[in-house]
Amino acid sequence: MNGSTAPKHPLDGLLRTDRIPHIWCPGCGIGTVFSSSLIAISSTGKDPANTAVVSGIGCSGRGAGYVNLDSYHTTHGRAIPFATGMKLANPELTVVVFSGDGDLFAIGGNHFIHAARRNMDLTVICVNNLNYGMTGGQAAATTPHLAKTSTTPRGNPESPFNLPLLAYASGATYIARWTMLHTRDLTQSITEALTRTGFSFIEVLAPCPTGYGRKNRLKATDMLKIYQEKAMVKNGINPAETILDLEHGITLGKFVEYDRPTYAENYKAVCGE
């Protein structure tokens, strides 16, 4: 193709284009969630150069390596502590954590609950693909009961976390859940989270056709069909009443939004500057 007429994607400015195509598998939904996040970052009206993206380890954790902004690919489970440090050192920064369910809720679970408890001013985007994709599709803390994975060939005997409820109980002040198919609502939620103050949590369901999909006989497009058919948008519903059941329904929406002092505000009030 002739270089001067090569088509240019509208998000190329926010991408490290020399690393694209990315490593995510065909049909993997992480790329769509990443794309929504970039659209949200560019639509807040703030200078994107003042935004930093922090990821942990795992497939979603690769996000930090593809964004053409200040970004940090941290150790496993530790995206939130690194993000917390960044935010405290430079309160002017908008700090986004982009990582997966395994990184944020298994190895990094305690960091999540404590950052939510403190109402750290962060936007946490969790791509939930229901399993550990990068290491071979093992059962995770989010794998549905009875789902097949490489470590649960007879079906998962455990029950998964309800992430919006976990976030609510821990003290998060903004909680939403969408799927990667609901790109417009998702982009709007991320934009709201980026422009507000406090701990914002957005869970996004995304297909992992290579891991979860293959074991449960769900092609990438089957997963999208489930998202389309089972989605029930219930804004403002109590997180305890949300469900994530690929057969009976998936509750989506913005569940929680309220204000309370952030960690930095409380620290200043109690301990001074």
Binding site: C25, P26, G27, T32, S35, S36, I39
Partner: protein, 95 residues
Amino acid sequence: MKFWRVPLDTEQIVVTRGVVHIIEERCKGCGYCIDYCPRGVLEASSRFNNRGYHPPVAKQPDLCVNCHYCEAVCPDFAIYSVEAAAQSISEHPVK
């Protein structure tokens, strides 16, 4: 578009139109853009890109309404639409 009775404001209504661009070498052939384009603009081409995937092709480019959904749903930054000159509704092609 044909009407059984032409609305009085037909002349004032314009339909947004778009031109869809495909960056073939980035495509991984997932088919999401093809399945979810609300206007049925796209189909899989029989060509391979240099990674062995079949990128989409616009089989009915005139139907594109520049909704950007293909652009939003593509996990690979491989497709986008740009606005083209608007048309009046009576000249707009039917799906």
